[in-house]
């Protein structure tokens, strides 16, 4: 918490989120977690905008269609950029992007659409450059978007999970979590047109899958409210802990705290 003493040892360098008091003592200036890298101490705040790293998986929403690129909102300080050259267009990988492609950008991604992408580059001003040059990235279909703090999403090898309870979840590093029904055929078909034509599935989602998605949504919100880190294991534990409640009951504060508490206990037992 702000004002807490981090250490009295004078040998450390001050990082972000700290300040030196008059008596050579290091204090925290934001509420967050202490991060120590060799001699550098900093405090990573809990409530912050997303700071991109190259290689991160993010979920973003298109806010603007510009000349040769799309502007994407990723819960960071500046909007991110998705260039026309960085997406997979229908008709194969190595197509030359002509003038018609520019004019028909809206056909692929319109304002309001959700995409999953990877951070390719970071500009000098801090804004991110995204790309969807892989079959697993692209436009997102039916499902539910959740916004949590970016500091709660753990950096893992993969952020696309097909949970055993029967739904798929994408944990964007920027705090946008996307829960969707598992597409028939194993791997999620979210490519923007790999094979020509759009595979936007607008069919009715069956009730059993809806229940799974709703439960997952409430469970993730429980964990987020109680500042628990989010990754596939924690979400599954929380899922199992939530089965004793009905789905709307999980919106209650007490139920939320209970589920988060049980999950934290189980995770601690794992670590021991």
């Amino acid at each position: 918490t702000p004002g807490d003493v981090i250490t009295r040892d004078a040998g450390f360098m001050r990082g972000h989120g700290t300040y030196m008091g008059t008596d050579d003592v290091l204090y925290a200036s934001v509420a967050g977690v202490v991060d120590r890298v060799n001699k550098l101490i900093s405090v990573l705040p809990l409530k912050t905008r997303y700071n991109g790293e190259i290689g991160d998986v993010v979920v973003g929403r298109i806010v603007e269609v510009q000349q040769k690129r799309w502007r994407v909102d990723t819960n960071s300080r500046l909007d991110s950029v998705l260039a026309l050259a960085s997406v997979n267009l229908p008709g194969g990988e190595l197509r030359r992007r002509g003038a018609e492609d520019e004019l028909s950008m809206r056909k692929y991604l319109n304002e309001g659409d959700l995409i999953s992408a990877e951070v390719q580059n970071i500009y000098h001003d801090g804004s991110l450059s995204l790309h969807t040059r892989s079959l697993k990235y692209g436009k997102l279909g039916q499902g539910c978007l959740l916004k949590v703090s970016p500091s709660l999403v753990k950096r893992r090898k993969t952020h696309f999970h097909q949970l055993p309870c029967g739904a798929s979840i994408i944990l964007g590093n920027n705090g946008f979590i996307w829960i969707s029904p598992t597409q028939g055929g194993g791997e999620m078909d979210t490519s923007e047109g790999g094979g020509g034509g759009f595979t936007q599935n607008l069919e009715v989602v069956p009730e059993s899958e809806r229940e799974t998605i709703a439960r997952l949504r409430n469970v993730v919100l429980c964990l987020a409210e109680n500042c628990t880190m989010l990754w596939d294991t924690s979400i599954m534990y929380a899922w199992e802990a939530s089965t004793k409640y009905s789905i709307p009951e999980l919106l209650n504060m007490d139920a939320m705290r209970d589920v988060a508490h049980l999950t934290q206990q189980r995770l601690q037992m794992d670590m021991e």
């Binding site: 039916q142 009730e207 998605i213 919106l251």
Partner: protein
């Protein structure tokens, strides 16, 4: 109301969910999200309430003032509503943006409380034609998270329930104006009966069905909403339509029935909780804003 962007598939998902009576967070079309509420927390008011419905945050304060009654109704007190949409609530409320919505809400509240059966305004009269109590109800919208009207009406009802009107004794002075003696004792106060106070129920139309207590995403998908003011006895005191879509006559009637059943239940539970809070007495710990 909100400038939220949604993709086509998200809207389809919500639409189908409403059709199957299973919304994004697991609720049915007639379920309301959990509400946290506390009364009597603002110290300079006669009555107050802080209500939180998911992400919607409302603060209501009631102040009583002595003024002259209207010449048209010399034997009644008055109740006036003032709504302020704080700029913190939503980026759309910056500057004068929230004024339209604020005026809308106060008008609806004034209409729903206008019927003489709701509040016994005659109780508020001290000297007919000369002095009466006026209840100034100030509503502050702190955060918008969908379902603004309902939350405001519930908070207003709770604040009125907790309002303590000071006791006034009239002592006539010889040959002069009657003198009013305001009791300074905080424990000697009359309460306002809110047994008949209405609660607003807003139904948003998504596809062919009406849902109660819509989240901002659901509000974005709906074409129009109907606002019903329902008393605990099931009577409708005000009806308003918000939005640009249209309703068929049969759907309006069906929506009215749905609203009445939900409104009666909400009124009931609200009163129960308020009485529970009352029973906890003066010694209860006031948590205030740090919820």
């Amino acid at each position: 109301m909100t400038e939220l962007l949604l993709s086509e598939s998200e809207k389809t998902f919500i639409l189908h969910g409403v059709q199957q009576n299973f919304r994004g967070d697991g609720r049915t079309r007639s379920e309301i999200r959990p509400i946290v509420m506390e009364t009597d927390i603002v110290s300079h008011t006669n009555g107050s309430c802080h209500l939180r419905l998911a992400n919607t945050d409302i603060l209501v304060g009631v102040k009583t003032e002595l003024e002259t009654p209207l010449p048209a109704h010399p034997d009644r007190g008055r109740i006036e509503f003032f709504v302020d949409c704080s700029a913190n609530a939503s980026p759309a409320f910056e500057g004068r943006g929230g004024d339209n919505l604020a005026a809308d809400i106060s008008r609806v509240l004034a209409r729903s409380y206008a019927s003489p059966e709701i509040l016994n305004l005659k109780e508020l009269c001290i000297l007919p034609g000369k002095t009466c109590w006026i209840l100034y109800v100030d509503i502050l919208v702190l955060e918008v998270g969908g379902n603004l009207y309902d939350a405001v009406s519930m908070a207003v009802k709770a604040a009125l329930f907790s309002t303590k009107v000071p006791v006034v004794t009239v002592s006539t002075v010889d040959g002069g104006e009657p003198e009013l003696d305001l009791s300074d004792d905080p424990h000697k106060a009359t309460r306002i009966s809110v047994q008949n106070a209405p609660v607003l129920v807003s139904l948003s139309r998504i596809g062919n069905y009406c849902v109660v207590d819509s989240t901002p995403e659901e509000e974005n998908c709906s074409s129009a909403s109907l606002l019903f003011s329902v008393t605990p006895k099931g009577m409708l005191t005000a009806v308003k339509k918000i939005g640009g879509g249209s309703f068929q006559q049969t759907s309006i009637q069906a929506a009215a029935k749905q609203a009445v059943s939900i409104g009666v239940e909400v009124n009931d539970k609200l009163l129960q909780k308020l009485q529970q809070e009352e029973e906890m007495g003066r010694k209860r710990e006031k948590i205030g804003f740090l919820l």
